[in-house]
């Protein structure tokens, strides 16, 4: 080997060395820059949030756990009484302890406690909106999948439509429909359904884009048309995943219907909001307990069903 041959190589080793150092320095610089930006943004956001809040953070901090004192009822038995609408010994005509007023009588002897009825309304809102959204999202997702739909205007249009449905603020739809249909759970159903179509549609078309295309080709080879190809080649492959995502969405929708309920959609959310804002300890406690148990139950049931459908699968909670 001549010097002429080794010289450039040594140079290039040096170059690699300096390039490496430069890269490390640049990465370090970006990391520090990112951190500085983050800290500045954090400090200024805290200030901004504190200034525009009604009560300031440090003034109110000692009162942070005040709500626990409202939550703790004087008589713990009142929580059960509130939950099952049993007449309270503390009832003196006010609203705080009038538990038996809300009974929903099925027959003269048998009644459903008020909060259970509200919880049924909330669950039904979640369930029906998930089902309706599922019915709409399945065909839409096939139109949006790159491997199944070759016409790009249709695909782009469907994708944009789903993005729009996802991003549109739910309370506006709920507000619009409660003005049209009178205040009640149906406005919440429409709002949650529209949002869910967008959210499920996105997850669905990502699943549909990842299917094995061989059955599809086989169907094509025997001359099947688009509907038959989707029905017999794509749908059987994606259905377990679709159902699993729909169940995951059902969990989220149980919470969403509570939230929408709180802004006028009826159901348990509205009752919870009223109860907390009036400081009714026993009622709030009963509602939170019921909501907590229901959500855990729905989560567990859907997790069990999902495991049976698609096996152990890591899923992300997505809004």
């Amino acid at each position: 080997m001549t010097i002429a041959n080794t010289q450039p190589r040594r140079q290039s080793t040096q170059e690699i060395g300096t390039a490496w150092e430069r890269m490390v320095a640049r990465r370090r610089f970006y990391t520090i820059l990112g951190l500085v930006i983050l800290i500045v943004a954090f400090v200024s956001s805290v200030r901004f949030a504190d200034e525009s809040n009604a009560g300031h953070f440090f003034d109110r901090l000692p009162h942070l756990f005040d709500f626990l004192s409202w939550l703790i009822p004087k008589d713990w038995n009142d929580v059960w009484r509130a939950l099952f609408d049993i007449t309270s010994v503390n009832d003196k005509g006010g609203e705080e302890f009038n538990f038996d007023k809300g009974r929903v009588y099925v027959s003269s002897a048998f009644y459903i406690p008020e909060y259970f009825e509200l919880m049924i309304v909330t669950i039904n809102v979640a369930l029906i909106s998930t089902i309706v959204a599922f019915i709409f999202a399945v065909p839409l997702s096939f139109f949006a999948a790159r491997n199944l739909t070759s016409s790009w205007p249709l695909r782009i249009f469907t994708k944009r439509l789903m993005e729009f449905l996802r991003a549109f603020p739910e309370i506006v739809i709920a507000g619009l429909f409660s003005a049209i249909l009178s205040i009640g759970p149906v406005a919440a159903i429409i709002a949650i359904t529209l949002h869910t179509i967008g959210a499920l549609g996105k997850l669905f078309y990502e699943v549909a884009e990842n299917i094995d295309m061989k059955p599809h080709e086989g169907m094509k080879a025997v001359g099947a048309n688009w509907w038959e190809r989707v029905r017999f080649a794509a749908l059987p492959q994606v259905l377990p995943n679709f159902t699993s995502y729909a169940l995951l969405r059902l969990e989220i929708n149980v919470r969403a219907s509570t939230i929408i309920g709180a802004v006028g959609g009826g159901g348990i959310g509205e009752e919870l909001k009223l109860s907390i804002s009036r400081g009714f300890g026993a009622k709030t406690m009963a509602l939170v307990l019921l909501l907590f148990v229901t959500i855990i139950a729905v989560d567990q049931f859907s997790a069990w069903l999902r495991r049976r459908l698609v096996g152990e699968h890591a899923f992300l909670l997505q809004h």
């Binding site: 949030a49 099947a224 909670l317």
Partner: protein
């Protein structure tokens, strides 16, 4: 599809019996699910009393509200005085300003007034004794001389006669309400009135060129303030559109999502190490933390927001707090699952060199987990910006409350439209930014 003959069909059937003689569940499972879903649908129709609701729905409001999103109306009021003269009044805070002389209200030489509602084809002429409504190609005179307004000739379908007034519906263009001494006209315009300057501003109703001229080189309108700062102040404090307030509230929503997610990430990060089975071999601690995450998530943003608004008062602190608590749960779960899925070899390698625990975590775990953490956190931030509009409506600050208030009054649907557009822009910007950042941090593949 191609049809095959019967022999071939039987042959195939004999060859693959398992596909043709299936169990009851396989054969009717799908059908039964379908029937159950339909039955549930019927139950839901009964449960929510859908027929009654649909029958009582005010569908006409859809058109009204939707048209209010993109239009505004002016409602001049024509009062017929005893002496036969007609007095024109505009409501206070009319979008036309304090001194309106619109060119669509014409004083005729004989003392009557003609209001053009949609060009020449739809107009109203008000005089002492009668009002003539011209629309849909016909002119209908309404006599005002007797005890009640009286339509001369047959009453067209777009006109409704009540005891003491007559209502003519002219579609999107507006409507006219005629009573004996008073004619109320509503004329609708496409667009957002006074979007930049409200009627109180000195720049109101001036053409763009003149406003720019005033700002650049005009004489000062207020002696102690430049015209530019006056103009900006007028825009910011626009009383009808409340740009300042809307933008501040929108910013609050973004800040709430940012603070909540960041604090949640900071709290979840160390906790996730303690909750991960493979990193902290302490079953009880793992379980306690995981259940804590579940609890924080399942109590939900809304309930936390309701509690925190009672603690801090309404505002973004309560919202940030609510997002923080929920996010600690969500991110804690996601991080700890990410940590449980890491490759253990780098850790073992670094442990074998005798490094301290902190160093093992820093060099054995962090490089693997950082992309997951960053991507999940960015995704949650993005999704919280979307979700934080709702908790605003229960008092946790941000644009949600503003939206809710605007809708509750049922009058300001154009403000609702404005805020919706702003929210959509912000959401799409955040989607794009967070996607771009995620791609850059994780390479081409998303989580």
């Amino acid at each position: 599809m191609t049809v095959i003959d019967a022999n071939r069909m039987h042959e195939i059937e004999a060859r693959y019996p398992e596909y043709f003689h299936r169990s009851f569940r396989q054969r009717f499972g799908g059908l039964m699910i379908l029937v159950a879903t339909l039955a549930y649908g019927l139950y839901a129709v009964w449960f929510f009393d859908l027929q009654k609701l649909l029958a009582e729905a005010h569908w006409e409001r859809v058109g009204i509200y939707l048209s209010q999103w993109v239009s505004y109306d002016v409602q001049p009021d024509f009062r017929i005085q005893d002496d036969g003269s007609i007095e024109v009044r505009y409501p206070r805070f009319s979008p036309l300003g304090d001194n309106p002389h619109p060119d669509w209200v014409v004083n005729n030489p004989d003392g009557s007034i003609t209001v053009s509602i949609s060009g020449a084809s739809r107009s109203v002429t008000v005089s002492k004794s009668e009002t003539i409504v011209t629309a849909h190609g016909v002119s209908i005179p309404i006599e005002l001389s007797s005890g009640a307004p009286k339509v001369v000739g047959p009453v067209p379908s777009w006109m409704t006669v009540y005891d003491d007034n007559v209502l003519a519906d002219l579609g999107f263009a507006g409507d006219v309400s005629i009573s004996l001494d008073r004619v109320k006209v509503r004329k609708r315009f496409i667009g957002w009135a006074n979007f930049i300057f409200d009627t109180q501003s000195a720049f109101f109703d001036k053409p763009v060129g003149e406003v720019i001229g005033l700002i650049v080189s005009g004489p000062r309108i207020k002696p102690d303030q430049t015209n530019l700062s006056l103009a900006l102040e007028d825009i910011w404090n626009n009383s009808e559109w409340q740009h300042g307030d809307v933008w501040t509230k929108l910013f609050q929503t973004i800040v709430m999502a940012f603070l909540g997610t960041l604090l949640g990430a900071l709290a979840a990060f160390p906790l996730a190490f303690l909750a991960a089975r493979n990193i902290t071999p302490h079953r009880l601690l793992n379980q306690i933390l995981k259940r804590l995450f579940d609890f924080l998530r399942s109590v939900d943003m809304l309930i936390w927001a309701l509690f925190l608004t009672r603690a801090f008062g309404p505002g973004p602190l309560a919202g940030s707090g609510a997002i923080f608590l929920t996010e600690t749960g969500t991110l804690g779960k996601l991080y700890s699952e990410g940590l449980e899925n890491i490759d253990n070899k780098p850790r073992e390698g670094i442990t074998s060199t005798g490094a301290q625990t902190v160093l093992v975590h820093r060099y054995g775990i962090m490089p693997q987990i950082i992309p997951v953490i960053v991507s999940q956190t960015l995704y949650q931030w993005e999704s919280n910006v979307r979700g934080a509009t709702i908790i605003g409506a229960v008092g946790a600050g941000g644009i949600g409350l503003k939206l809710w208030e605007a809708m509750r009054t049922n009058a300001n649907w154009e403000n609702v439209a404005y805020m919706v557009i702003l929210i959509l822009i912000v959401v799409f910007l955040f989607d794009g930014a967070s996607n771009a950042l995620r791609h850059r941090l994780m390479g081409a593949k998303t989580h």
